[in-house]
Subunit: 300 residues, 2 copies
């Protein structure tokens, strides 16, 4: 929305160092390392009823996803933590250790603070990874490239919907609470893609950002979006379901462009569109143009 | 307090990487860089009525102070920012740019998030600096060392008191709102000190931490504490005033130990005590022992 864009524009205006990449990226390249900082706010980015170990997993996963999009291998994290109920805190700490161990990340520092009574928790993580031989950004998509996405889209959004409605949909709820960042795929793809980012706010809004930074037009065939069996069972497979999957956010899949076929990956990958000269995003379904929806994704 | 210590202990138990230094330090040493992450919460670490540009200054200053204690030269920052009233946000952005320019720090990334209605802002900053030839920690104080502190103590605590009481005390209020981190002194001192940290939570609590990590006893002469003229004018100069200065926190001065005389510094430096074999902290005033107060400092 306007206020956030204005604030980021105000910061960007003077963030002219090459490492900052104009603050148009999810991560900075600094001294051979890729560094990212993402926050989760209770009631905004996760539900108060989400298990603390899952919140810890998600805090790490969203940062890992930023590094994956840069083809960087994660190594160290700093935690910014708002204390709350001690039992919740301890379960968060246990969950965080398990998640760090799972992904081979070392906790090297951070800060813990108290907040005022009843205030939502605000969690931050800075994640540092070794840059690979090539660090892709959002700027390189070229006319003629295909647009690809890893795994499936829309599961996390449906998981949130299920939680809010009190519906038991385990696979979707796990996708919402414990997203799987595409770390290995990101490292494998980085040398080959023309542009890459992760889909955190929703396919449409993120595709528009990719198109804008690259100075190209992106066309997406909604029919081609990879939906999971669980998502189809929950929400069907019509245009409305596909538009929801394309705007829900919280997917943490990789969105990338390249002219050749992608290298072998440890996850499914699907061509969902193409790049052409021009600007903006166009959508099609069943061979016909589809207007962009008013709500393109999670705009914070 | 207990809950925070338990949480940090739970994190520390498995933070065994050398970079983490057992999480007993304010900053991590990683790949030739010193990295710190500090948070400020509205209503806890600053007043809602503090000017946004001052809050931006303080967020940078508290992180710079951590780097100063490591003798590291600051270079790049990532910002974790909770959006609120747009006018406040814009003034924060302007103030942050001015502060970054003042200290020669580049903003390279971060995250901005919305929070729930009426929640206090929670601000985080990750600051990265180049490590110097030697990175001191809290572990090296040796019997026979003197304990030194830079500049004056207690001004910020009195500034907060003045703000809360509606008393006009400009020098003290500036010390609270716009602390001056001892960046240059930290770099100059790092090769020479046996141990060093910054005084963020209060001289007594921080001295106890230094003594515990070094495995020594520290004795401090409260008479020797450097108080500013503004502090003396505001709160007098008796034992109670000195005890307040030693427990108030928010000073961001450097506390360090060394056997020799400190090198020339761009700020005053005062010997306030000594290191001996043993454990814990002892206080004296006017040549007589003084019991430790119940409240040793800002324990979050």
């Amino acid at each position: 929305m306007g206020a956030e864009s204005d604030f980021i524009d105000a910061l960007r205006a003077r963030a002219t160092h090459p490492s900052a990449r104009g603050l148009s990226d999810d991560a900075a390249l600094f001294a051979g390392h890729v560094i990212t900082h993402d926050m989760l706010v209770e009631g905004v980015h996760y539900l108060s009823s989400d298990p603390p170990a899952d919140v810890a997993w998600k805090l790490l996963a969203v940062n890992l996803s930023d590094l994956a999009a840069k083809g960087a291998a994660p190594s160290a994290a700093l935690l910014g933590y708002t204390l709350g109920a001690p039992a919740w805190d301890m379960r968060f700490a246990e969950g965080l250790h398990a998640a760090l161990a799972h992904f081979g990340v070392t906790l090297i520092g951070g800060d813990t603070v108290r907040t005022t009574m009843g205030a939502p928790r605000s969690l931050g993580m800075t994640l540092i990874g070794r840059a690979g031989p090539r660090t892709p950004d959002r700027a390189g998509a070229r006319p003629g490239d295909c647009i690809y996405v890893t795994s499936t889209l829309g599961d996390a959004g449906l998981g949130l919907k299920a939680l809010r409605a009190g519906i038991d949909a385990p696979a979707l709820i796990i996708a919402y609470r414990r997203p799987t960042p595409q770390c290995t795929a990101g490292v494998a793809l980085a040398p080959h893609v023309s542009a890459m980012m992760d889909v955190s706010d929703g396919l449409l809004i993120d595709s528009i950002r990719l198109a804008a930074t690259s100075g190209v037009r992106i066309s997406i065939a909604l029919d081609a979006l990879p939906l999971s069996a669980a998502a189809r069972a929950f929400a069907g497979d019509d245009l409305a379901a596909r538009m929801s999957a394309a705007t829900a956010g919280d997917d943490y899949q990789l969105l990338f462009s390249m002219a050749e076929k992608p290298p072998p990956l440890p996850c499914p990958v699907t061509c969902i569109g193409s790049v052409a000269a021009g600007a903006g995003l166009t959508l099609a379904y069943d061979g016909r143009p589809v207007a962009l929806p008013e709500h393109l994704g999670w705009e914070h």
